[in-house]
């Protein structure tokens, strides 16, 4: 299991060091600094073995987190734990920075003592942790016996993510369907790979211990229902259903029920959390198409023309559109003309960045640029990185639709109809690249 956990700043100074196992000594702290942080080269592997000691490391801004072990631990678990550790810290004191860590080091030690015991990760749900590890000193001595046992049963219990006795005057929930659409396209416009990775993020402000059921236009569910019900109805809805390649759920979702009935039922955590993640690859709506044209004019000049076409309902508006056209390292000057928005050559980023605030569906726009190059005797050709794009659209590129989210709370007197529900769809660009 995890033998120790260290946090360093970018210089390699230790900010936090907690050792859980006897086989990890103080010299491990220095070994990592010397061999990884001070190595100053690109990280060739997130797991490094130095003198039979394995270091798992992740970096958040310029802070290094390293978990150390001498055993054959579950590597996936260690990384998941490090990410979780980052989440917990962020939930407690915001951004992970040297200053914040120094300011909260007592808290961090306390957290590390709680969520990792002898190197075994324990309950690390911030909801539960915040009930008994707080920034405003420890409540311990003021708690009543009931409160104490409530805390322990929540931390260890089946529903470790929610406490009893939550009350809201207004029962309300917000559902965000957040998708990132990824594309890799060849210069000729052939889709090399495309997928949508989506998340359903929920903010729930519900009283008691509500039982929820979430439904979407999952092809498997719709087809199953179609078989039982009217056939024309199935055909109608079948068109709108989507094939989900794979999905994963927050630990509150009953997985065995999903496996047998494909229904998503759960008791939600309070506040904001990610209900599910999913991935689709079929019938994706690609919101934009990028058509690049790069021409080398002699050895000192490049002509670039890029056309973007929006491909969705004309009534909808895409926002925050940004096209990034890479330029060679030896660029000396760039002239840009664009039909819409603003374009600028950014020498420090080796790219022309073209920004458009808004663009409706079924439109197209164009940019042309002349790039002047310094003559070089570098034999190696320019690698031509792909043209990438960023945008935000108000629909789900996968075609996912929320069909219902039902709330049942039998003990309290509010029903599904009393809950105010909000649904929002946002499609963003993930890695949206076109080779040129």
């Amino acid at each position: 299991m995890i033998g120790g956990l260290f946090i360093y700043n970018h210089k390699g100074e230790v900010l936090i060091s907690r050792v859980y196992r006897d086989d990890i000594g103080r010299n491990a702290v220095d070994a990592f600094r010397v061999n990884v942080i001070h190595a100053r080269q690109q990280v060739r592997s997130p797991v490094t073995n130095i003198a039979r000691t394995s270091f798992f490391h992740v970096k958040r801004s310029n802070i290094w987190l390293a978990a150390v072990t001498k055993q054959n631990v579950n590597a996936a678990m260690v990384f998941e734990f490090l990410y979780k550790m980052c989440d917990v810290m962020t939930a407690y004191f915001g951004k992970i920075s040297e200053e914040n860590i120094k300011n909260n080091f007592v808290l961090i030690y306390e957290l590390l003592d709680e969520i990792l015991d002898f190197g075994y990760p324990q309950n690390s749900e911030t909801g539960a942790l915040k009930t008994f590890i707080t920034q405003q000193g420890i409540k311990g001595q003021f708690q009543t016996k009931e409160e104490q046992s409530q805390i322990t049963s929540q931390v260890t219990g089946q529903i470790g993510w929610r406490r009893e006795g939550i009350k809201y005057r207004r029962n309300e929930l917000f559902l965000d369907v957040l998708e990132s659409v990824n594309l890799l396209m060849s210069p000729q416009g052939q889709v090399l790979s495309a997928h949508v990775s989506g998340r359903v993020v929920m903010k729930s402000y519900l009283s008691g211990m509500p039982e929820c059921k979430f439904g979407m236009n999952d092809k498997i569910v719709i087809d199953k229902q179609g078989k039982g019900g009217a056939t024309d109805d199935a055909a109608k809805s079948g068109k709108q259903s989507i094939a989900i390649d794979d999905c994963t759920f927050h630990q509150c979702v009953r997985l065995s029920k999903f496996d047998s009935e494909r229904s998503i039922s759960f008791i939600p955590p309070d506040g904001e959390y990610e209900l599910m993640r999913y991935r689709t690859t079929k019938d994706i709506i690609l919101p934009f198409r990028v058509i690049p044209l790069v021409r080398e004019v002699g050895r000192t000049k490049l002509e670039v023309k890029v056309v973007i076409k929006s491909n969705f309902k004309p009534s909808l508006l895409a926002q925050k559109i940004e096209v990034r056209i890479p330029t060679p390292l030896n660029t000396s000057g760039v002239q840009v003309i664009c039909m819409k928005g603003k374009a600028k050559y950014k020498a420090s980023e080796n790219a022309i960045v073209w920004k458009i605030k808004r663009m409706a569906g079924m439109k197209e726009s164009q940019i042309s640029a002349e790039i002047e190059l310094l003559p070089t005797n570098d034999k190696k050709k320019w690698a031509r990185p792909p043209i990438s794009m960023n945008f935000e659209v108000p629909f789900a590129p996968s075609g996912l639709k929320v069909r219902y989210l039902k709330v049942f709370e039998s003990k309290l007197n509010y029903s599904d109809h009393d809950v105010i529900k909000w649904v929002r769809y946002i499609g963003r660009s993930g890695i949206y690249e076109t080779r040129c």
């Binding site: 050792v19 996936a76 075994y120």
Partner: protein, 985 residues
């Protein structure tokens, strides 16, 4: 509240000040002081001097202060064991506290204090806490047992904590169960043989129930523990799999990977024809793909594991090629791993896409990545024959870029392509030679030298090229030196007249001036070979090379099995067994996959049960870069293991040489994945002439060697100088040189008694402008030969003969050019024996043994087709072991059995057996039942197909019944014909 100020106290006399503050009456000031102490401790300052003062602060109601003091204690107790006792009372008291959080805190901290005296006091509180009413305390106490065991294992056993821990597996709280499982698993690891975990169906059921309810981490502990269980039968295995599969949808990647581990392991036990097996296979791919959208570090772990999974069960990911395409912004470690998997998944179906991607990658920035991409293109060529041409042209394009490391990498892979497809892409050699000067890496230089040596006869200035390398011989790396030595010897054997000086030079450089034992030994071997018997030398050095595998860097099967049992762990990331990086006894025991339920008792490993499959034994794997010795030996010296056996040679001494090179060096390589070398003749004694240990310099004085070289008649003959006394065995005098000798050597061959049909006319003179060809096929001393009589019935002289085969069922192709050295005058005929190999392109023909041949001469190209007796493809090592025979016979489904009658045969069963043996049809066993003799026979074809037969001979009945069983039933008819032909002639 900003704590960062505690980090900045660097004043002199700091410790003294802190001491004062710690003893202050004010609570706040005390707390501040302890915080400063902890901050100093974190940055590595020694604050152990404050021990008594800090411990004094322990008695407090303030939980925050208490936790800080505990933290201090955990760090320094070991260095101050006597003073640590001061803390015991507080711990014992805290363990009785009404607040469960404090009870748990006390027992948790106490376990972390590794002082013997304290552990004694720990036992009682721990026992209470293990039975505490609060689950939070119990789950903490469960882990504490593991802590205590780490300090004092005996104490834990004596106090009976292990039994209490086992009871906790039945606890009502899932988290307690999970922690108890984790603690037990850890303790069990240090007692490999104890039955501590005692996994039985009841406990498994409890674990599976807890699995649905506990935290994500608990699920990981339970799944990892489940993976150590071996179900009793396939039913139990299936029911566990069914309950584990929902975990594949968990958001935590570690839960998913641990579930995959359990499924991969238990799947081994499921019969493959089960519907559920197929369903399970389909369920595995999507979650694995989803892992690739996790954070890069996890992607890396997932990719390393997918690499293992793909090797074990390629079918799972075979349609998922696209997800492994590299993204521009992937970290380099993700890119390299993706590339590795792309090569493994490349197939005919997706090769076009893969190649387009690889070409793209070859222009990227990272040197390692680009190199690997170039190498990958070469691997594709070898793996997917249809793509070879495109790959070669892509590589040539890349060579044109003149980027140094790209060129070098391309040359290394082109060497492999040459080996896989001999005589196909030699046109590119000229381009390669242009880049000779830019090669500065040993591997690329060695590859280039190999190419020059291998194709010396087609490169006009091969001797000059090799000579240019020779100048700096001693500065080269061993790899290059060895290769240069071999290449020059090859060149000499091919062009003896012009290169004797060169070969002398390299031999003396290697043997006299080098300190490297490998190089010296190889030098001596060549020297001896050349001096005693150039024919043998030719046979050895220019022997046909073994097949190279399609796959590269495959993990050795037993290691792979072990790693599959460690999916998700560090071992699967390093691709090394835990014993390679874990100290002490932990995790050293080797895990194995369970046996499949369907396999019979006599067949206990999957490798042996598939012996009759097409191309069963894995061809020699291309060794990874580091395997220097193996690499070079593989290139030239080892006899083929799966392809046709090397040409046998005629004298005892030569056999000895072969044996030495084959057996001795093969075992040196020690590559377990390779099948053991085929023994050539079991009874051949080791040659006394060749020392099988590296000769010490005293054994081989320079003068003696010098004398050898100058005066030895054999080498004299080899050099083409006027022979003083030609050894009798060399027969034909003078003119033809080595080529002639070679012909003679192969012609002499050991009479094997193999059946060979009489010659028949293949090409009629009328149809071929006067050229008549009649011929037959024979297997002589392990070499397949096409023996032809060419007759010129035309009026003009015929010259420039050449021969080529169309693709055919067994990949037959000429092993060398057609040797018609003198022009064929009108009315003259010539006998030609053309050695064949079976490494050519394969295409199924109808009938199976049909061969289409094109013969060219100065007049025209002529085509004819002929049929070869399949018996010439029966290899010498076709004798199956009895056990394997039995198992295989049972294993082959009955629909693959075919029965034939052999009529009018009047031989006794022993005579039959002898006669068949002459044609490499081996009798495995003989049985007599009711006056019927039953012979069990086995045959192995050059492509590795086994054909098993049962021959029934009834006394007095001239009609024999024969049943053939084979995994490839198409060959049965042909094989039967061969049996008949052999028996009747």
């Amino acid at each position: 509240m900003t704590d960062s100020k505690y980090f900045t106290t660097t004043k002199k006399g700091e410790i003294f000040e802190l001491k004062a503050e710690l003893n202050s009456d004010k609570k706040e000031k005390k707390k501040e002081a302890v915080k400063k102490v902890i901050a100093s401790m974190t940055v590595g300052k020694d604050v152990s001097a404050l021990f008594p003062d800090v411990v004094n602060c322990m008695q407090t109601d303030n939980l925050e202060l208490k936790k800080l003091v505990y933290l201090y204690l955990m760090n320094y107790a070991k260095s101050q064991p006597d003073m640590a006792i001061m803390a015991v009372n507080t711990f014992v008291k805290d363990c009785e506290d009404p607040n469960p959080l404090i009870r748990a805190l006390a027992v948790r901290t106490m376990g972390c204090i590794r002082v013997d005296k304290i552990t004694e006091y720990l036992c009682e509180p721990l026992r209470k806490c293990l039975k505490d009413e609060d689950p939070y305390v119990r789950k903490t106490a469960a882990v504490c047992v593991a802590k205590l065991h780490d300090i004092n294992a005996q104490l834990v056993e004596d106090q009976g904590f292990l039994d209490t821990l086992k009871d906790l597996i039945s606890d009502s709280n899932p988290m307690v169960v999970a922690n108890a499982v984790a603690a037990l698993s850890e303790i069990a690891e240090s007692h490999p043989n104890s039955n501590l975990l005692d996994l039985n169906p009841q406990t498994i059921n409890k674990l599976l129930t807890a699995l649905n309810e506990c935290t994500e981490w608990g699920q990981i502990f339970i799944l990892d523990c489940l993976a150590n269980y071996t179900p009793r039968d396939d039913r139990e295995s299936q029911s566990i799999c069914e309950r584990v599969t929902p975990r594949l949808s968990h958001a935590n990647s570690a839960v998913v990977l641990s579930a995959v581990k359990v499924l991969m392991k238990f799947m081994e036990m499921l019969p493959k024809d089960l519907d559920y097996y197929g369903t399970l296979l389909k369920k595995l791919a999507p979650p694995l793909v989803t892992l690739l959208s996790a954070e890069p570090e996890l992607q890396y772990v997932a990719l390393r594991n997918i690499n293992l999974i793909v090797q074990r069960r390629p079918e799972i990911m075979k349609h998922e090629m696209k997800v492994f395409f590299v993204k521009y912004n992937d970290p380099i470690y993700v890119k390299l791993e993706k590339l590795d998997i792309m090569i493994r998944l490349a197939s005919q179906a997706n090769i076009a896409q893969v190649l387009a991607e690889l070409k793209e990658y070859a222009t990227e920035v990272d040197v390692d990545f680009v190199r690997k991409a170039v190498r990958a293109i070469g691997r594709c060529a070898i793996k997917v024959e249809q793509s070879a041409e495109r790959c070669v042209s892509t590589l040539l394009d890349l060579i044109q870029t003149k980027v140094n490391y790209v060129v070098q990498e391309a040359i290394v892979v082109i060497k492999d392509i040459f080996r896989k497809y001999p005589n196909k892409y030699e046109s590119v050699i000229a381009t390669l030679c242009e880049n000779l000067d830019s090669l500065d890496e040993p591997e690329a230089r060695a590859a280039m030298i190999w190419i020059v040596g291998e194709y010396a006869e087609r490169i006009d200035n091969a001797d000059e090229l090799l000579e240019s390398f020779l100048e700096g011989f001693h500065d080269e790396s061993t790899q290059v030196q060895l290769q240069l030595l071999t290449a020059i010897v090859k060149l000499f054997l091919k062009k003896p007249t012009e290169t004797q000086e060169l070969v002398q030079q390299v031999l003396s450089l290697a043997t006299q001036d080098s300190d490297n034992p490998d190089l010296r030994d190889r030098g001596y071997i060549y020297w001896r070979l050349l001096s005693t018997d150039p024919v043998a030398a030719k046979e050895v050095v220019l022997a046909e090379k073994p097949l190279i595998s399609e796959e590269t860097d495959l993990i050795e099967p037993t290691l792979l099995e072990e790693l599959i049992c460690h999916i998700g762990t560090l071992a699967s990331v390093y691709h090394k067994p835990p014993s390679a990086f874990v100290e002490g006894s932990r995790g050293v025991q080797h895990k194995r996959l369970p046996c499949s339920a369907g396999s019979g008792e006599s067949v206990d490993s999957p490798e042996t049960s598939s012996t009759a499959g097409v191309s069963d034994a894995p061809p020699a794997v291309i060794p990874s870069q580091g395997d220097l010795l193996g690499d070079l030996l593989n290139l030239d010296l080892t006899p083929t293991t799966t392809g046709p056996p090397p040409p046998a040679v005629s004298t005892g001494m030569q056999l000895g040489a072969m044996d030495l090179l084959g057996g001795g060096l093969d075992s040196l390589m020690g590559d377990e994945s390779e099948p053991p070398p085929v023994p050539l003749r079991t009874d051949t004694p080791q040659s006394p002439q060749i020392p099988n240990q590296s000769p010490s310099p005293t054994d081989y004085s320079t003068s003696e060697l010098g004398g050898d070289l100058g005066g030895n008649p054999a080498i004299g003959a080899g050099f083409g100088a006027a022979p003083a006394a030609m050894p009798a065995s060399f027969g034909a005098p003078g003119s033809g040189g080595l080529d002639d000798l070679f012909d003679l050597g192969s012609g002499v061959g050991m009479p094997m008694g193999a059946y060979s049909p009489p010659k028949s006319v293949w090409l009629q003179a009328m149809k071929a402008k006067g050229l008549e060809i009649s011929g037959t096929f024979a297997r002589r001393a392990g070499v397949i030969q096409m023996e032809m009589t060419l007759t010129n019935k035309a009026m003009s002289v015929m010259t420039d003969f050449a021969i080529q085969f169309n693709r055919n069922s067994f990949g037959l192709s000429p092993a060398g050019p057609l040797q018609v050295l003198t022009p064929l005058s009108p009315n003259q005929s010539i006998e030609v024996a053309l050695p064949l190999n079976t490494s050519g392109p394969v295409m199924k023909m109808d009938p199976l043994n049909n061969l289409q041949v094109a013969v060219k001469n100065n007049i025209d190209v002529f085509y004819f087709s002929c049929q070869y007796p399949i018996s010439m493809l029966f290899v010498e090592d076709g004798k199956m072991e009895r056990q394997i025979f039995l198992a295989t016979w049972k294993d082959i489904p009955n629909e693959n059995e075919s029965q034939f009658q052999i009529k009018d045969c009047h031989l006794s069963s022993d005579a039959v057996s002898n006669k068949l043996q002459g044609s490499n049809i081996f009798t495995i066993a003989k049985r007599t039942v009711d006056g019927q003799d039953m012979l069990y026979l086995s045959v192995k074809l050059t492509n590795g197909i086994w054909v098993l037969a049962e021959l029934r001979i009834q006394a007095g009945n001239p009609n024999y019944t024969i049943s053939l069983k084979c995994r490839a039933p198409e060959v049965s008819q042909c094989v039967f014909q061969s049996y008949e032909a052999v028996l009747k002639n």
